[in-house]
Subunit: 326 residues, 2 copies
């Protein structure tokens, strides 16, 4: 068994994920991260360490014309060569604004629906420790508060009883995914742009992280570990379901419960907290506590929160991106 | 009243610090940060907003030959011009290793003793929001865990019933301290190197922070705010007094209580957690929980923890600094 596969199965067991009698959807963009995950899960199946139905899923977001179609063709070839089931989804339409945000939401919706249709317990993504470190820094720069610094959890609810799992995030550097692909003689698309990757993330990767590595060569590991420690120390979240919520209920919460509850409620309604800073959460909390009605908080990037009729409601909108996200 | 003074008195009240019938020691290096603090406190006294005995304290650490003496002469001149009481201490000897650490400890000891001798309730330092942001980044780079990221508290126990207070840290940028000095026509020493300022800190200030400001011009404010939010979310600390401590007592603590207890105990014995990473705290926790006796954990920079006779003991040492601290 190769080192990458050993690490993967070790982490799989540590996360208490099923090893048989289950199906899993593996999100594959065509980049080394997701290709290495797919190939390693497939290798573990051939070694009888995992007895799972594996379904690769590729979402062609059609954001980059030819390159998007080449990504799709590459993933089709990879899965056909290795006899791995593949589901491919295509973006139905183009969005005028918030392209990345919308494409990302569409992709997750597609992945979730695919998982439901094949009765998979989870969608696995190839997020690496580098992605986690970049997410940490992006949220730190943005000032997104403790919740944002806690980074991406290794497992979270995707909706509809499907989990989103990141089985290589806690141990694999991006370079290790490339190394494993080389070892296995598997090609990957090096210019695959993940739809999540805004310009700021690329600058974090290409400029900020190398500078931080001058200070500490283990910076990626340190940042990922910091996110993990912060996740352990997160204040308890008051779980609030999506949809309009009675102000009375929110007003019964303590200050820190309200803040974390509002975060959870926004995630449930909006999909995530991208671009949301501590001050926006504060603004929603003030909306809850102030006695004037009919007020609105515009969220940066996407969505607004409106108070009225004794309730707080979330609605989508399409305001332009804020300069901070560029 | 000038803006800087208004901010200072507002923060003074917010921190519930005494405004009369008390003495305060103001640590003055000669730099704009500490000079602005001293001058503003003095101005508030003249405006009858504060009715305190003000004692400036300067510690000549003798690390930089002539420049150190020039700093001292400058502070003497400033206090004499303004008729402010001044206490000056001099380093008695040079240290072979850990110069900064030792000089820093000596300086705090001197400040504390001065405060005791004039019956001051506190020593005030001129740490700014920039210092807090730099401390946050240094601890982030070092991987010092949640406690380190919580940064410097605005008030902490210095020992002997004396508080260490940082009344401008939560609102003043370094540039604002220089601006106030200019407004007041007060000179300051621009090349005053605080003994705390290791090479890494200077690189954080001159290279890393400007790059981060390209991402977010408000980065210093965001980092200081992040530290404040993390401070609010710190896990409860089991308070353990300095000196040898029974293993039995430590073993009765929960895992997170033990970790925070060990941190607190190390601070009590060592003065601070400089250079200490999460892995060192973990190593001490393992020492507590393992059943083998006579083991030692060497701490980076300064100090060691030894187990023996059913107790955990801290002792000073003089090992060389670790490469991570340059």
């Amino acid at each position: 068994m190769r080192g990458f596969e050993r690490e993967l199965i070790t982490n799989w067991r540590r996360l208490c994920l099923p090893t048989d009698n289950a199906a899993i959807v593996v999100a594959v963009s065509g980049g080394a991260d997701s290709v290495s995950l797919l190939v390693a899960i497939d290798a573990l199946k051939k070694q009888k360490k995992l007895d799972l139905r594996i379904v690769a899923a590729h979402y062609n977001h059609r954001l980059r014309e030819e390159a998007s179609d080449e990504d799709e063709a590459f993933v089709r070839g990879l899965c056909s060569d290795r006899k791995i089931e593949l589901a491919v989804g295509h973006a139905a339409h183009r969005h005028n604004s918030n392209v990345e945000q919308a494409a990302r939401n569409d992709r997750y919706t597609y992945l979730q629906e695919t998982a439901v249709s094949v009765r998979a317990f989870a969608v696995a993504t190839g997020h690496t420790m580098d992605d986690q470190a970049e997410t940490f820094l992006l949220n730190l720069i943005r000032g997104s508060g403790v919740q944002g610094l806690a980074g991406m959890p290794p497992i979270r609810e995707l909706g509809g009883d499907i989990q989103l799992i990141r089985p290589i995030m806690s141990w694999a550097r991006r370079s290790a995914t490339e190394g494993y692909c080389h070892e296995m003689g598997v090609d990957f698309r090096s210019d695959t742009m993940n739809v999540d990757e805004a310009f700021t993330r690329v600058r974090v990767r290409k400029i900020l992280l190398p500078l931080l590595a001058d200070f500490n060569p283990k910076i990626v590991e340190r940042l990922a570990e910091t996110a993990r420690l912060l996740r352990q120390n997160l204040p308890p979240t008051a779980e609030i379901p999506p949809g309009p919520i009675a102000l009375e209920r929110l007003r019964s919460l303590s200050e820190s419960e309200l803040a974390s509850g509002v975060r959870g409620w926004l995630i449930a309604n909006r999909g995530d907290l991208r671009n949301i800073e501590a001050k926006h959460i504060d603004a929603v909390c003030r909306l809850v506590n102030s006695r004037k009605s009919g007020k609105t908080v515009e969220l940066p990037g996407f969505g607004r929160v409106t108070k009225g009729g004794g309730k707080l409601a979330f609605s989508e909108n399409n305001i332009e991106k804020t300069p901070s996200e560029n």
